[in-house]
Every structure is written in structure tokens, then in C-alpha cells.
């Protein structure tokens, strides 16, 4: 049906530029109102502007961006009681018209959103990695060289915060959005516009965070400890608003995913037949939906402190730094499992394909992930072991923290059981999976040293901690991300990047990564605190080795990106329909996946891991009645 495009559609075509215009307008309005309408401001002797002005400007800039993207058309229509969008409009918004332009506007197609996520994640990863290169260059010498004490802290804060943005969506964003609906056999997410919103909150968040450079930067790192945050210049506001946006995005996508998974599964898709990856996304979504609001509450308090001069975190004014530390880490610790649990799921999803046999201990694997999710809510105070807060509680948090290694160990048991006596296909993704297990093992064992209070008194807040969470996030999640990109690229783009060079790239990134962070583990044990620009001279050799390896790491990560771009945009080799001979539903649908995923209903019979019988997970039932737009 070729109806002439309505005005709304024409505007929607230009969503991205309009959004940027709206962002600028919104910022100017908010800045003017906040600066002049609000009686006075904290740090008013700052000629760049006042905190209320900046904060309100950022908030309205997000609104303006979304309005320009066309997110407000639908709600305003509802408010006016207008007619619901026609089937054509819905199909159009869904990206039915096809074409590359879908990827640059608001669309409700979960597959398009998945790819948008992938691009955004890789952009964040690249920019954050560049920051890491600057940091390592600075740390070549014990005293400031390429940065000043001031810009270095902002550099560290930008690197860490941007990487947290990246990591909190790295797996669940691209692969969760793209494959969960297909895996559970539905044609769409429960709330497609909400899903689009959760993605389109990321670009403003990134821009707002980076704009701190023009406001003097912020010196608190990604933890934003108060009252230092109260003391910071305007750049702090970028951190607060950016982080709040990420928190909102995590929470909303969590709610959306849970609703989709629990209420929209295909016939026969009992919970006990859900692919393990869907289970991991479910657990992660619960973590996100239930933990992110704590962050939002903390950020609101900080915003009040900075704009209305309340004293939530100012001791002499009745507040307490511990309040921020508790609220932040109550979000912060589930957050780190938001990073890794989807990685576990993806790894266990891929293992059976390459070992050609069922997942060993499916139920216990699910139990393990659920256990991680539950435990992660009662461990947050292990970040406060040396803070002097509630010493009598430390044994409990030490115990609960160490308890998490049990469900985590289960994941390894399942992996070993699946690999046991199998004749493994050593494909490129399998290499990255191997790297994941090696790195995450080190990450886990370094964690034990930190969870034990007496040893934590030496290792806390040192580079040992920094290396520990880089082993879990970079060595764990990002390795899983790379494996998943290689594994799913044929389905997502119809292209393959599986070339011999990639195996060299794996070994390069594996060796340089471990070289870097083993050096940093030693630096931490020898007593180098985090986030310092000047350090004791005797630590220089290890820092130099870390930097040299880090350069190699940066180069090899860039190589991965280069191979990806080259293969997808320039070389464009068409991939096989099911190159890994997987039995999963996502590989049974044609490539490219139809706009509405299925034109015949999938009916699930079993877990998609029956490689002994070779029986696919789902049959395809009768054809779906045709509908407009499809």
C-alpha cells in the first residue's frame, strides 16, 4: 500500500537532525529559565552559568531531543484523545518502509534498535578506550606530563563513566533487544516505543557527559562521592544528568524485557524451554528494574544539594557522605552483575553449538544465575569495608560476598560439563569464549581477596581493585561481546567477519590484555592507589610495562573494529544462512529477518540444544494472517 507519507512521517524521516536542533533549543530555554527564574544558585560566582541553569538546560535538552525525534507525537495524540495511529503509520514507524534511513530515526523494530545499540556501544567503547590510552600515557612517568592534575581526574572520570554506560548495555542492548523476541517467538517487544526510548536516551547521555569538558570537568570519578561532588564546578552536573539518563534507560528496558519475556512467549515455550540467554536477560532485567531507582534517588538528592543547597551529603548541615555511599553502591553492585550475567547467558548459549551437544545442567545454570541476582542485592557494603561504617556488619557482608562465588562457580561447572569429552569445534567465537573463561577466572579469584576484610585493608582502593573489575568487565563482558559479534553478525547483517586475521587479533588482544592487567595487579599489591596522577617512583617500571601492553591492547581492539567495519561496509561477503549449524530458533528464521520476525507461528517443543537428535527447537505452525504493512 503506497499511501503518500503524512507530515508526521516526513518529520520522522528527519528525526535525528530535528532531535539535535530540539536539543539545542531545549538547552537554551532551560538554561535561561534556570538561571533567571530560580532565586539564587550554588556556586553563583561561576561566570559560565549557575547549577540550576545547567541542570534544567540539560533536562530540557533531553526533552527537546526526544520531541525532535518524534517521541512526543504519540503521547500528545493520546492526551488529545486523537485516533490511534493507523496500521500503515504503525508499520511505517516499525521500519516497514525499509531502507538505511530506518537506522537514523525512531523506529519500533527491535532488530533495528538492536543494531542501533550495537553501533552506540562500539562508539562508547572506542571513545572510552581512547581515554584509557591517554591515561596510560600519562602514567608512564610518576609526575604530570601530558595532563594536569585537574584534567587527569576529568579524563579518568570520563573514561570510567563512559565505559559504565557502555558496559551496562553492551550485551543486553544489542543482543537482548535483537534476539530475545525471536528466541521466545514473538513478533515484537511488549512496549516497542518504550524500547526505542531506552535506546534514544543513550546518545543524549553520552553527549551531555562529554560536554563536561566545556564546564570545567568533574573530579569525582564514576563513583561521584559526596561531599566532593557538592564542591565540584559545573562539570559535575553533566555527570549527574548523564548518569540519571542511563539509570532511567536501564530501569525502563528492564521493565519492558520482563513484561515481554513473562507474558509474550510462543505456544509451548514454557519457562523450562527458554534458551539460557533469555533466562540471563530476565535476571538482568530484574536487577536493572529494581536497582536503578536507588541510583536515581541518590542523583536527585545530589541535584538538590547542588541547586537548592540542601545538605543531604554535607555533614555539618545534618547530612552524611555515607548516605550517598550506601545508595550508590546499593545500585552499584547489582549494576556489575547487570554487566556480566548476560555475558554468562551468551557464552552458555554458544557453547552447545560448538560442542554439538546439549547444555550440561541447564536447570542448575538457571539456578546459578538467579542466585547471583538475588545475592547481588545484599553485598553492597563490601565497598565500604574501610569507611568506618558499621564495623559489626562487616562479617555478614564478607560472608554474602564470598557466597556469590558459589553460583558463579556453577557457571564454570556447566561450561566444563558441556565441554567434557566433547569434540569441540574450535571456531573464532570459541576462541573468545575460551578467553572469557580464562579472564573471568582471574577476575573471580582476585575478587576473593577483596571480599575478605583483613586482606581488603591492604588492597582496597588500590590498582588491585581496578585490575579486578577490568578482568571481569573488560576481560569478561567485552570478550563475550566480541564473541557474540562474530557469532551473530551473519544473522544481524548477513555479512561475516570470520577471517584468519581475526584469530591473530584474538591472540593479540588476549596477550596484551593480560599483560596490562597483571602488571596493574602487581602495582596495586605494591601499594599504588587508584586515580592518582603522581605515584611513588619505585612503581614506574610496572606502570611502563602496563602502558606498553595497553598500547598493544588499544591497537588490537581497534583492529577488531577495523575488521568489523571493513567486512560489513566495504568487503560485504555474504554469510551462510546458518554458518554455525545452530538449532536455535533465531537461526531458523530467514536472513534478513522479516520485519515482523515470523510469517509462520513458531511452536516450541524443547530446548534448542538437542544436537544428539538434531531436532530444531521449534516447528513453524500455520501462516499468520496477513496484516497491513507486512
Amino acid at each position: 500500500m503506497s499511501t503518500p507519507p503524512t507530515l508526521a512521517r516526513r518529520l520522522n524521516e528527519w528525526g535525528l537532525p530535528l532531535g539535535i536542533v530540539g536539543m539545542v533549543i531545549g538547552f537554551l530555554i532551560g538554561f535561561a529559565v534556570g538561571t533567571h527564574a530560580i532565586p539564587y544558585s550554588f556556586g553563583e560566582d561561576n561566570s559560565l552559568g549557575s547549577d540550576p541553569g545547567i541542570l534544567l538546560g540539560y533536562a530540557l535538552s533531553v526533552v527537546g531531543f526526544l520531541a525532535g525525534m518524534g517521541f512526543l507525537n504519540y503521547p500528545i495524540g493520546r492526551l488529545l484523545g486523537a485516533k490511534r495511529p493507523s496500521e500503515e503509520d504503525n508499520a511505517y514507524i516499525h521500519g516497514e518502509s525499509g531502507g538505511l534511513s530506518r537506522y537514523f530515526r525512531m523506529t519500533t523494530d527491535h532488530k533495528v534498535i538492536g543494531l542501533q545499540y550495537l553501533v552506540m556501544i562500539l562508539a562508547f567503547l572506542f571513545i572510552g578506550g581512547l581515554g584509557a590510552m591517554f591515561i596510560r600515557t600519562e602514567l608512564l612517568t610518576p609526575s604530570p606530563t601530558i595532563a594536569t592534575a585537574q584534567s587527569y581526574l576529568t579524563l579518568v572520570g570520563l573514561h570510567s563513566t563512559l565505559m559504565i554506560f557502555m558496559a551496562s548495555a553492551a550485551i543486553i542492548g544489542p543482543f537482548g533487544n535483537y534476539f530475545v523476541p525471536i528466541m521466545i517467538g514473538t513478533r515484537n517487544m511488549a512496549f516497542p516505543r518504550l524500547e526505542a526510548l531506552t535506546f534514544w536516551l543513550l546518545p543524549p547521555a553520552g553527549i551531555i557527559l562529554l560536554s563536561t569538558v566545556f564546564l570545567g570537568g568533574f573530579t569525582t570519578g564514576w563513583t561521584g562521592y559526596a561531599p566532593l561532588a557538592d564542591q565540584n564546578v559545573l562539570g559535575m552536573d553533566s555527570y549527574l544528568i548523564g548518569f540519571a539518563l542511563i539509570g532511567i534507560s536501564i530501569g525502563l528496558s528492564g521493565v519492558n524485557m520482563i513484561a515481554t519475556i513473562l507474558t509474550m512467549r510462543a505456544p509451548g515455550m514454557a519457562l523450562s524451554r527458554m534458551p539460557i540467554f533469555v533466562w540471563s536477560v530476565l535476571v538482568t532485567s530484574f536487577l536493572g528494574a529494581l536497582a536503578a531507582p536507588a541510583l536515581i534517588a541518590a542523583v536527585m538528592m545530589e541535584v538538590f544539594d547542588r541547586s537548592y543547597q540542601t545538605t543531604f551529603f554535607v555533614p555539618a548541615g545534618g547530612g552524611s557522605p555515607y548516605l550517598w555511599e550506601n545508595l550508590f553502591w546499593f545500585f552499584g553492585h547489582p549494576e556489575v552483575y547487570i554487566f556480566v550475567v548476560p555475558a554468562f547467558g551468551l557464552i552458555m548459549e554458544m557453547l552447545p553449538v560448538f560442542t554439538r551437544r546439549p547444555l550440561w545442567g541447564y536447570r542448575v545454570a538457571v539456578g546459578g544465575m538467579v542466585g547471583i541476582g538475588l545475592l547481588s542485592f545484599v553485598v553492597w557494603q563490601h565497598h565500604l569495608f574501610v569507611s568506618g561504617l558499621a564495623p559489626s556488619l562487616r562479617p555478614f557482608y564478607m560472608f554474602s560476598t564470598e557466597l556469590i562465588s558459589v553460583p558463579t562457580g556453577i557457571i564454570y561447572l556447566v561450561a566444563l560439563g558441556t565441554l567434557w569429552r566433547a569434540r569441540t569445534r574450535f571456531t573464532t567465537p570459541m576462541l573468545f569464549i575460551f578467553g572469557f573463561f580464562f579472564n573471568f577466572l582471574i577476575g573471580g579469584f582476585t575478587g576473593v581477596f577483596l571480599s575478605d576484610v583483613p586482606s581488603d585493608f591492604t588492597l582496597h582502593a588500590s590498582y588491585f581493585v581496578q585490575a579486578h573489575f577490568h578482568y571481569t568487565i573488560m576481560g569478561g563482558e567485552v570478550f563475550a561481546l566480541m564473541a557474540a559479534i562474530v557469532y551473530y553478525l551473519p544473522k544481524m547483517t548477513g555479512r561475516t567477519m570470520d577471517i584468519r586475521l581475526l584469530r591473530f587479533q584474538f591472540w593479540a588482544v588476549f596477550i596484551t590484555f593480560n599483560g596490562t592487567f597483571i602488571s596493574l595487579i602487581s602495582v596495586g599489591i605494591l601499594g599504588m592507589p587508584r586515580r592518582v596522577i603522581s605515584y611513588a617512583a619505585y612503581l614506574q617500571p610496572l606502570n611502563v610495562s602496563a602502558t606498553v601492553f595497553a598500547y598493544g591492547l588499544g591497537l588490537s581492539m581497534t583492529l577488531f573494529l577495523g575488521i568489523l567495519l571493513w567486512e560489513v561496509f566495504i568487503k560485504q561477503r555474504v554469510a551462510a544462512a546458518n554458518p554455525w549449524e545452530s538449532l536455535g530458533v533465531e537461526w531458523q528464521v530467514p536472513t534478513p529477518v522479516p520485519t515482523f520476525n515470523f510469517d509462520r507461528l513458531p511452536v516450541s517443543w524443547s530446548l534448542p540444544y538437542d544436537y544428539d537428535t538434531g531436532k530444531p527447537a521449534a516447528d513453524f505452525g500455520p501462516a499468520v494472517p496477513a496484516f497491513s504493512g507486512a
Binding site: 554535607v314 550440561w360 574501610v386 568506618g388 560472608f399 577466572l441 579469584f445 581477596f449 583483613p454 601499594g527
Partner: protein, 279 residues
Amino acid sequence: MRNRATAIRVVVIVWLVAAVAGDVALAFGPIPPGQASDLASSESLTILLLAEIAWPVFSAVLAALFFTLVVNKIAPPTAEVSAEALRGNTRAQTAWIAATLVVVLSLAVYGTVALAIDQPGAGISADAAALPMPTSTSQPLEVQVIAQQWWFTYRYPSYGGIETSQLVLPVNQKIEFHITSLDVVHSFWFYALGVKADAVPLNDNVVTATPTLTGTYRIQCAELCGLWHGNMADNTAMVVSSSDFAAWMQQQTTLDAPVMKYLLPYSHTYEPSPTVYGS
């Protein structure tokens, strides 16, 4: 299947050798943070113990991964391969979970006991008054650490509340650090003594340690506290004999004479000024 059995045997033997060798090496290697105080020695003992437990488990998992991945014949990526379908094994799972649980529980118990024995960072102190001058080395000498943006200063209530910018401690004398801050959150890290405690404004964080080795050590701030966090370090902290300590204290008293009349009376916490916002 004979070669498989031999392979298993080889891997197990290799792992045993690696585990034992590693543990022995650990036992003889230097373990941070060293032996400069009772607290530091107990921490390095904990670290050693954890490492001794962690290394064999770590290498065992690695050996198993290596075995399953490599020793099994690796199939080419396209080969039509099949293996018997194992869907799980309750006994193996139960055993694994039980084993990990036991390890975790014993670790937690050990940590709790160690915590109970040498109270590292006993947290906020109850009493407001300063300790009396110790009459024996087993009684603690109170030393206050005042963190401010961006320098540590120290007060000795037993010596008329004198304030110095250098930390000097008598050896073999039990020290009770009282750590507080005048503005934002800092963290006082005396690496060699194994002392690390956050300095929080209007909050008195107590750590007890007995230095056992004389020498010059490094002190630094371990919590991000603003512009000069990286420079908030001092290489001149010293642990000296009690006679040298007395001499140093004498010298400081004369140096501080002009300012003594201005210092606030000693207290465990100090109001930051200005109290809140504004000039």
C-alpha cells in the same frame, strides 16, 4: 580410551606439580604489605592463606579447561561431529556446590575470626575524651590524623595536643590512630603498617596497630578527594626508637611554639569552617 586415560593422568600430574610448586613458592616469597606492624603481618598472613587456597583451585579449573578444550581431539569447524549427549549429572553438581560452599564457609569463618582478633579499623569510637599518656607499650598511644584538602596533619594529644605535618611513631608502641577529616572524604593509607581507613568529616575512624620495624615509609590518600588527590602523599613518615621519638617531639615542640596558642583544643572531630556553603 587408553590414551584418554593417560591424558587425564598427565594433566592431573602436571596440575599437582604446578599447584605444589606454586604454593611452596608463595610460602617463601615476600607477601605484601610486609611485617612492619602486627596489623600488616596479619594482613599478609591472610593474603598468603587466600593465595595458598586460591592457586590450586585456580590451576585446577585451568587444567580442566585445558583438558576439555585441547586434549580432546579438536574437530575442524565444519566437521560432522557427535558426542554422547550428557544433560547433567546430579551427583557431580551436588558435589561441586558442596565443595564450593565448604571453601566459602571456611574462608568466611577465618576472615571473621581474624577480624575479631586484630580489630582493623574498629570504626567510629564511642568516647569523646583522648586517651591518657600510655605508661607501657601495650597501652595505646593516641595519634590523630587530620585529613584536609590536600594534606595530612597529625596531633598528639598525649603531648599537649601538638600538631605536626610529619608522622613519626615510636617503634613497638601500640598506636591508636583516630582519623577524621575537615572537608570531604579522604582515606588514610599507611601501606607499610597495613593501616587504611576513610577520613570522613565529623566522624572519628579508629585503627589500632603496633609498628615493629623502624624506617621511613610512604603515606598517601586512597580516596578521591579532589584536585591534588594524587599529590596528597608523604614519603617522610617514620617509625623510630622511643628515644629518637622523644628527641623529635622536643624539636617539634620548639618549632610549634609560635602557633600553639592558636590551635583548637584537642577533640576527636572538628567542625569544618565554613560549616556549609557560602564564603
